[in-house]
Amino acid sequence: MLMNVFYAFLSIALLGALLGIGLAVASLKLSVKKDKRISSVEESLPGINCGACGYAGCAAYAEAIVDNAEELTLCSPGGKDTAEALARIMGQEIDFSAIKQVALVHCWGNEETRSSDFRYEGIEDCNAAFIYFSGADTCKYGCLALGSCIRICPVSAITKREDGRIHVDRNICIACEKCVEVCPTKVMQMVPHDSDWYVACNSPDKGAMVRKYCSVGCIGCRICEKKFEDGGFKVDNNLASAQYDRQYSQREGAAEACPPKSIRMIE
């Protein structure tokens, strides 16, 4: 009786050992060589498989980075830290320190300052809204504030403020220019990282027209350009823009003199 139990034990144990060895051999023989970096890249990604990078999940993105030299800045939840970690693994440089440009929304319009032509009830996205009459605002050049840029920014530098305006944190922005590309009204533009003042308007419409639809839009009056020699502003096509080639001393004076207060300090 006892012997029977012993045999049973023994045979199962032997069987187990044999199959185990078999599996070990198979895994050695049949293993597919995977670039080791894939797993370290994958480990550096957040692992939440959100798909924001455009791939089916973190593993797929990791493979694309190693096998297809995909860009390193596609993971938005991971942000700057992740991009840096990936750069280290891949032996590439994303030179964050040398970035001279940052994105800036050239518009200060919101619900309170400007009029709209109709009620928009569609998909919450600037490009989707732009299909219909270039957006509901009367101004066709301003920020639609539906956040196409927020969704595409790989390092989450862009947020929507309480007052409905879109804000880029210039200390986080890595100047990938994705937001500039996606923005339907081209109101998102790059400026030097150390710039101080800017013209927060993107409308080339004539002053009389701008006045009708927005209280903070540039009216092209040229006060900034004409009255402040060292203000560094130029008016073209009814719209002022700040020059960033050097430091100017009269920026603040021009800002104060601007009738609609379109010249603003970058926040």
Binding site: G54, I123, N127, A128, I131, S134, R151, I152, V182
Partner: protein, 441 residues
Amino acid sequence: MARLLTFRRGGVHPPEKKSLSRGEPISRCPDPETLIIPFAHHLGAPAKPLVSPGDEVKPGDKIGESAGFISAHVHTPMGGKVKEIRSVYLPAGFASPAAVIEADPGSSWSGTDMGEDACASMDPKEMISRVQEAGIVGMGGAAFPAHVKFMIPKGKQAEYLIINGVECEPYLNADNRLMIERTDDVLSGAMYIQKMIGAREVIIGIESNKPESLQAMTQAVSSRRLPLTVRSLKVRYPQGDEKQLIEALLKREVPSGGLPIDIGAVVSNVGTALAVYEALRMGKPLMERVLTISGEAASDPKNVLVKVGTPISHVIEHAGGFSSPPDKVVIGGPMMGFSIYDLSTPVMKGTSGILALTKHQVNQASRTPCISCGRCVQACPMGLNPTKLYKLIDHGNYDEAKQRFLLDCKECGCCSYICVAKIPLVQGMRWGKLMLRKKQS
């Protein structure tokens, strides 16, 4: 009775609402004081303006020259003075340059009928060039330049000419009235098109909810002994789309990304056939059209002949204005049309209807998450998976959406119509296509 023909896959049957304007004979809309004539009436290149502010024009003058292959000339229906060239938003939501013309009251184009014999002596090439000169576009909606369609590419052959009298959009009766009131001219136009493209057979497809049209056409065909078949179709949206109509009549499917001519068919709307008739017989450019003004908020639904460039507000006024404040004014049919906010938007070559809809007709329900019921998949006549496409686009996976045939979507609106969660699926498709175009450029 034999089973009525229809297409194979998908489709919906929204309330028809045709009775509001079905019995209204075509009347002429009075001339406006100002015409706003856009230079773009279709996708593809807008016409190049031939006039500048201050110029005097005569009725029928060509004011825009086609620019590029897929482009059509533009003519003015009235004489007058060009005030300005400015950008206007078209019903479809994009902007186009337009000529603003202060019209001479009472000025109107006139021409004489050159008779059947003059047309019989023309060869197909000359006929096509006259169609091109007249600036004719498809009048069913997309306004594709007609001469481009009639020039059969080398190596292809047009076996069938299908005349589209389906008018599957609810409310609209413009084509219906044309078939009843201009029966003979529409049929002659169809025969001219047949000659141009060299088609072996001509079939006219009409949905069974237009018995008067069916009867008028059948009678005229038999009394004139025309080599033409009239077929009655089951009422089903979007049967008026080329691809569905071909499927219904010929049981052939246009391949993905292909054109009807790839399977030997050319489809032309009844309005287009009439325009062809008028261009060939009288040399008349396309500069006016019949449209239906209807809807629960319209005082006096009717079918009117309107000059291209007439502001929508002028047409509405002619039809007695609104009976109650409309919640939406839609240009075209309720399924594929566009809601506009500015009533000074002009009537275009492709404008088939003006609908004033009340709150009850406009979808008021609020959006909820997709419950994966699959109704949109069943309804899509192109065999797409709208909810999957929407999710891909929402996540920015435009390439995968393209692989899943996003570009086959023709924005018919069946999916949005049927969706219980009220997800704006069609807008999603348009958004996805926009993003793909953006990526390419």
